[in-house]
Symmetry: C2
Subunit: 299 residues, 2 copies
Amino acid sequence: LTAGAELDSFIPMRRAVNGFRQITIIGVGLLGGSIGLAVKARHPETLIVGVGRRRLSLSQALKRGAIDRAYLEDACPQAVASADLVVLATPVGAFERYLRAIRNHLKPGAIVTDVGSTKSDAMAAARRVLKAGHACFVGSHPMAGSERKGVVAADPDMLTGALCVITPGRAPRATARVEAFWRELGMRTVRMSPAAHDKAVARISHLPHLLSVALMCLPQRAELRLAAGGFRDMTRLAGGDPEMWRDILLSNRREIQAAMDEFSRRWSKLRRLVKRADGDAAQEYLRSAQRARLRNVTK
Amino acid sequence: LTAGAELDSFIPMRRAVNGFRQITIIGVGLLGGSIGLAVKARHPETLIVGVGRRRLSLSQALKRGAIDRAYLEDACPQAVASADLVVLATPVGAFERYLRAIRNHLKPGAIVTDVGSTKSDAMAAARRVLKAGHACFVGSHPMAGSERKGVVAADPDMLTGALCVITPGRAPRATARVEAFWRELGMRTVRMSPAAHDKAVARISHLPHLLSVALMCLPQRAELRLAAGGFRDMTRLAGGDPEMWRDILLSNRREIQAAMDEFSRRWSKLRRLVKRADGDAAQEYLRSAQRARLRNVTK
């Protein structure tokens, strides 16, 4: 035993990320993998366990260092047994199934959160499945992503500076710990009710996604050679994962419908301006959009 | 006289860009300024003359080195008198006025081109104004830009790698020289009829712009704090110059209306899928958009 080693033993171990010594991430795709990488970059001593449906993505996640141990989905009870924090990072439609599979295997005091893009359904699933005595559920929506897919595209910096919406659970302490977790990964956080969140994201995230999809389907291939930066930007979202977006559409259907209807009304107004060749009104419309963009959307 | 200087005089002067020793750019904004910078970067000996409406933009253009001499718009006859090439880089709606102002002042053999986003109107204006004995007109649409405005945002590399659509004029040689001019500035070129160009850009450029504008006007300010990268990309175009876009809307109104109508039909279909909660059909729609994006739109 050297003096140095002895000294080390008196220095308290660097605390695991917010006291979460083991984090189990269910779904090691783009976002799950990025969370794993971001935790490991800051706290290499935290044990990250990954659960996946396919051997390939699990081995890619291990290879990239996003997780330390891998389990196929059938083994998710074992994967969560020692977890302090479980992060659901699958498509929203699979949350309830996973919650049922793990609820009797979580250790006392464990916290479950998610990364789902819709929050009413996720919170309702957690309320239905997790009863008193089970773990606490806190909803999270880290608003970061890319049109790329899978752990191969995961990026430890993807979360940095982005906003994470928290929908609080029943236990204030668990909510605060989940909030601190995302902040430690470099995110800004804001608390919202699931309903307010779902309405806002329908308008600010799901609607743009659908516009991008509908636009991408319109031009013929020969026309696409004229596509420049504008078209490329406007269709980036359309490259996103269809399975994930199917779940989002179904899960947030009512709010998305309302947002689509409102868009249709505004679109009809713009069509009328163009039809009437009303240059002044069109310019005013363009100017108000430009003003809103310059004032409210920062690079 | 040194030996070196004597030797120099026997080496033919480095040819000006495609034989254009003086280029007059009418409108020294983002695109006009970028063209000036791109020419000067390759051929510093080419004389670039700028015409503008405001003293401020002319002095900014001089300061940035995008032009060598500046004239206010009233003096455009003098500005074009020695020009080998005149580039109209104002909003499309001003083309005819400038063509009338310069037509009797161009030197024999001068070529006039433009950078307009719509080509039927530009070609028609040139046909109306420039008669036999006047200069040749060749239509150009360099498909490069940004949501920023003015010569302060000009960038000599903005054109590099982008596509320039050429709508040929009556003189094949002038068309070839204009084509070579844009290629020399690093652009790819393609020839199209004005009608085919206008239909394609209505669908691939003007429609996306209007979608971006309508989207930008929809969310309330409080919702905008949830805006992430997707919303930012989808509204970048909405930051574009309202005056320029007013002219584009008026000039390409028929094709834009047709594109808006087709978009509306596709949008209605997507609304029905969401309303019916038809997950399979929605996923198929999302998948076809994803496929088209990945296959046909390159970074």
